[in-house]
Subunit: 142 residues, 4 copies
């Protein structure tokens, strides 16, 4: 079980760092845009923020899923011939059809991918909400 | 893989914009109601807020699920005869029974729907919580 | 499809109201306890808050799941002989083994249960976090 | 049904207490590090915070999953020979392939594990986000 925890734990931690860096970059990017675009109508800025944030975060999640697929390939976590990106993506989102099952020795990697995925997707959701909240001051108490 | 990412990414971004617009409209709607209904007992306002917010957000999620079903139909992501609304709804909520599987060439659309769904549902949850928090001042520190 | 949306939408809205009422009651209960127990050591109060909040919210989720099971029974959403509480609970948490499938005409009730469940569970999580945050002032900026 | 609720409810509450204690310990640990490492570059502190938080929370989730596996073993919730850690981990993350099913008499333990897992993972996500928010002051309004 230790080898599964090491492989899955390392992948999880790298993904956390990726997401933290992307979050930092997004904050800088959006602040730069806020400075320049302050003359644009509110609806436009709102849309630009959501499309930018959504696209960058989607790219981050996709990179994290590719890292899981790479880990699966490196240790042989799925039967030969498996579409590893689809398998990793399905685990990451906890879809879990059961059409592909991990091999017995590495089966813990599947729920570890799910744990990592839920946390990172929840993090993205919190980030999008925090950005939009700034543009909807009525949501704040003060 | 690029065609899957383009189709799923476009659907995801449109849904993010839909949800952002609905959030903006809800804030305006509830502020209007708060102004008029300030004489009503607290329990009534509480219930009106939750029922309004819940119904509007449910309608938004349903529209987003229909857009996924439309994308599935446009590219042929599921076997002929599939109930696409049910398939899209099950993916969007990550239910994932495995009773319907996507066709091989478009299989990434299923977890992309799940990623989009988790984020939008999480966003709705944060919004409901933010609205109710305003009516429960004890939850705030200041 | 309209009958499914009406049955599922009504159940969802009633559950939102249940959860809002339980949240209001919990806030009052915990404030009362905070007033009386202020002489107790911090660790004790911390544990009492988490056990009380967790138990009350679990009871609320269970009541909401029973309401879904009742709706399933009323419309005949699952094959005869199905353990409806287990089926509703599995849908509500998006577990989705696929060992039980809804009948065709009412199949949308399953992902509607999932949508309702994710939102209410996320709400509970936000509430527990908000309560504990008050006892961990270092998490706050000010 | 009462025995299932007692066994699952007790496990859930103990896990809530574990997570609350780990959250308290993490806050103290990170404050200690913040005091000592204030001369280090921002990128380093950022990475240390995320890696520490992620690793400690992962360990907490793993301990909670082991407790569920222990409960499954104590009552015989899965068929003999089942890999209980994998089964508990898959339920906790709501992966739900359906490759392992609980025995009929204890089947509610599976969605109870899922309910407990979603809440605790959501809690961890909120905690990571709260820690990082402190290092990204632009996310705050004031």
């Amino acid at each position: 079980m230790v080898d599964q925890i090491l492989a899955g734990g390392a992948t999880s931690v790298v993904n956390l760092v990726i997401h933290a860096l992307v979050m930092g970059a997004l904050v800088k990017l959006l602040l730069g845009m806020a400075g320049r675009g302050s003359g644009a109508p509110e609806f436009m800025r709102y849309t630009v923020v959501i499309v930018t944030t959504g696209s960058v975060l989607f790219a981050a999640h996709f990179a994290e899923i590719l890292l899981w697929a790479y880990t699966y390939a490196a240790v042989g976590a799925a039967p030969p011939g498996t579409d590893l990106v689809y398998f990793a993506f399905s685990n990451y989102t906890t879809l879990g059809y059961g059409d592909i099952l991990p091999v017995d020795h590495w089966r813990l990697l599947a729920p570890m991918t799910a744990l990592n995925g839920i946390m990172l997707i929840g993090w993205s959701t919190a980030l999008i909400f925090a950005f939009l909240r700034r543009t909807v001051p009525q949501l704040e108490k003060h």
